[in-house]
Symmetry: C2
């Protein structure tokens, strides 16, 4: 089909924003997006968002952000759709069954990096727009290429355009997450995130462990001690004070969890784990959605290839991130983490040098469920899928949800179309053909319902 | 010069034995070695040493071992020279200043992977043989291509050939280490080593830390806890019982350390560290030569590239090794390490699976300093360098030193020619042109002195 072939074309672009040397590909997919919108009759503004300093100190130009619009009828409601066309890294060696950049359909699923996060949903929005002769709402689009690294430049752009591009916007909608279960969902909250780099710098060269082993305090053992001080085996974060500001659970909030058709045994099977850190579905959901978490992602600079190497790495950088929830404040978390790591490092009496840096720092987000766009969203789901949507939160981070809400004062909603087993950021990421097509219908129905509630 | 050009040709072969997919290059350099020996008039036996099972379970054919000889005069002493032509991994991205596989001379130093460990010394032996019209001793050569991964198959070959190839050997000499200081040295001991793989296997896919973070006991945090239980910040190994069998220091042994012209400040500067784990030169030397050590080399399976990736890796493998000294026993160490890690893992109450495997398991080695070949070695050093050699031990592992001594009952000596700052296993490995040429003269003088002491 034409839909599948356009997604194939987009997935083929290796727009991995985590590696700034690939930002040329990010710019290419942004350009393809702009051309597509113009072909559909939209107007496009390619907004420059300046430069960025990498952890190395190097300054690089940021890929631009696309601002676009269809229609401008003052009698109609104006909906602003956000999406991104950059992706997480992917390579066959990570364990993909198919080439991650060659969209492959197997048994009704479309496999490829970005299929569900977020190229598929962005194309679904464009197809929903295309499905109308006359769109019932004014449509604005804001499409970026740096979501996976923290949307550099977007917050400032939002501020700058608050009185122009955003002035007549009534609602902002984002489809950059997935359903929690087999049922469609509306999402009213996301966790924030800070990504930390813990660099321990020691001898001036990598050394042979036979020659120097036993006489040198190795950066790697310092780093293991630092990373080991972050959380215990129950998943509890051990950085002092970091979880003090977590919002207490209200009775109203607790009740929302009863209605989620989450099946613990099925989710264990999907994840391939014997048990979760929590015992009940409600506790697991709260751990993912409304409580903070800390994950250690890896170590750069140490020996990471197959086989054996008897090296003492001279410099190693541990990487971890903390997912944050209301009312945690990322700058406060960053300060506490840095103080904690410096304190632990001082007990190691190390001759090595410690440098802790952090990026992203996105705030958590919670929306007001009573806003009319949530009513429109619920009606559209009923219409297309014939069921009541689940009201869910999202454990992962879409920094601009909170940023849009805070900076523009507009209502923000997330309207996912991806399946709960789509594997975003993982090997064999996919979107099902069913979700891709019904999702397009959902978006079209949502435009219509929104025109009624305004 | 011809010497430099042959070393350049050998260094250009990427015979990295740590990666079994490169064993074709190991076989190529072995073949080049065999051809060279035959051109010099030696006879060559290419010995098949069977197969090897990789940690993955796959069985692979091992590269062969070269057995060669020059002369066979029953009136002469017979010296067997050991060397290896495989190398450690190397790539520009690790921080090399020059291409590691393109030998580059800068200010009298020849930079390249294998320049000092061990291609340079193997060529120096061949050049020493070539320097004689009639060699004063019978020469045998045993050249392998798997030293860096533990000399698979060599021990069994030694056993099989004990009554044939080794029957008429009087002395075995190895030049696979470096001087401890600026002074030439004879080496009478090496540490043993066991290399451990700690695999923690969890969910069935890599997951997004936003989606699953907080609900899953992550393999990476289990692994960090396991690795963190191995040693403290003073370098003390915390695995119960592992250091119980370390030989006590005798007064005679202690005195040997007074005569090493080791300068603590200079060594700090060479290593680029503010301080070592010990305070005196004697303590540092003992830590490197006669005490055990544990180094954590890295983690396979986690995110190790530049940039950010918010992944929960499904399976991670920590890699560390323990350098061992008399009277530690590698199988006993392996058992204690496995018990310890299983015990720590049980406290984590993890749903993940732990698998600890070990390779190498080489025993430590100490020689009898009173053997005549040590007398010959001392005389040759005096003759070529005009100084008394230092009697040193080596912190790194040459598994076959102990194996040769134990299996053949012959005297084994190590006669290094590399400089103390050659950086074997490190970035910018080199041998100086001075050491390469004077080392060749030392080997030639050693042949002559050996013919007198027999």
């Amino acid at each position: 089909s034409e839909c599948g072939s356009r997604l194939r074309e987009w997935v083929a672009v290796q727009s991995d924003s985590g590696d700034h040397t690939k930002w040329g590909e990010v710019e290419r997919i942004l350009n393809m997006t702009a051309v597509r919108i113009q072909e559909m009759g939209g107007t496009v503004d390619i907004a420059d968002v300046g430069t960025h300093q990498l952890p190395s100190g190097e300054t690089v130009s940021l890929p631009p952000v696309i601002l676009a619009e269809f229609e401008r009828d003052p009698k109609k409601a104006t909906l602003c759709i956000y999406g991104h066309v950059d992706v997480q890294p992917a390579k066959m060696a990570d364990g993909w069954t198919t080439d991650p950049f060659n969209l492959t359909e197997i048994k009704g699923n479309l496999y490829g990096r970005g299929a569900t996060d977020n190229k598929g949903p962005v194309l679904a929005w464009l197809h929903a727009v295309e499905s109308y002769q006359e769109i019932p709402v004014n449509i604005k689009l804001i499409i970026e290429g740096l979501e996976e690294v923290g949307s550099y430049g977007l917050l400032e752009l939002t501020r700058k355009r608050n009185d122009s591009f955003f002035a007549d916007v009534d609602f902002i909608v984002i489809s950059d997450n997935v359903w929690a279960t087999r049922n469609p969902a509306l999402t009213y909250g996301t966790r924030g995130s800070s990504y930390f780099f813990v660099e321990v710098d020691g001898p001036k060269l990598d050394f042979h462990s036979g020659v120097y082993g036993g006489s040198i305090q190795e950066p790697m053992s310092d780093l293991i001690a630092l990373l080991g001080s972050l959380l215990d085996h129950t998943g509890k974060i051990l950085v002092p004070g970091v979880t003090d500001d977590v919002a207490p659970l209200t009775e109203d909030e607790r009740k929302l969890y009863d209605n989620i058709s989450f099946d613990l045994e099925e989710m264990k099977s999907v994840a391939g784990v014997k048990h979760f850190l929590q015992d009940t579905k409600e506790e697991v959901l709260m751990a993912r959605w409304r409580n903070p978490s800390l994950s250690i992602h890896g170590i750069q600079g140490a020996f990471s290839e197959p086989g054996t190497k008897t090296v003492i790495p001279k410099q190693v950088t541990g990487k971890f991130s903390i997912r944050q929830v209301p009312n945690m404040d990322p700058p406060d978390v960053e300060r506490k983490v840095k103080e904690h790591l410096q304190q632990v490092f001082s007990t190691l009496k190390s001759p090595n040098r410690l440098r802790v840096t952090a990026t992203v720092g996105a705030k958590p987000w919670v929306a007001n469920l009573k806003n009319p766009q949530y009513v429109a969203g619920q009606r559209a789901v009923r219409e297309v899928f014939g069921v009541e949507p689940e009201l869910i939160r999202e454990g992962s981070t879409i920094p601009i949800a909170q940023n849009f809400q805070e900076e523009t004062g507009k209502s923000v909603m997330m309207l996912p179309i991806g399946g709960h087993d789509d594997g975003e950021h993982s090997q064999n990421e996919k979107i099902s053909r069913y979700n891709y097509i019904e999702g397009t219908k959902l978006f079209a129905a949502y435009f219509y319902e929104l025109s009624l509630v305004k």
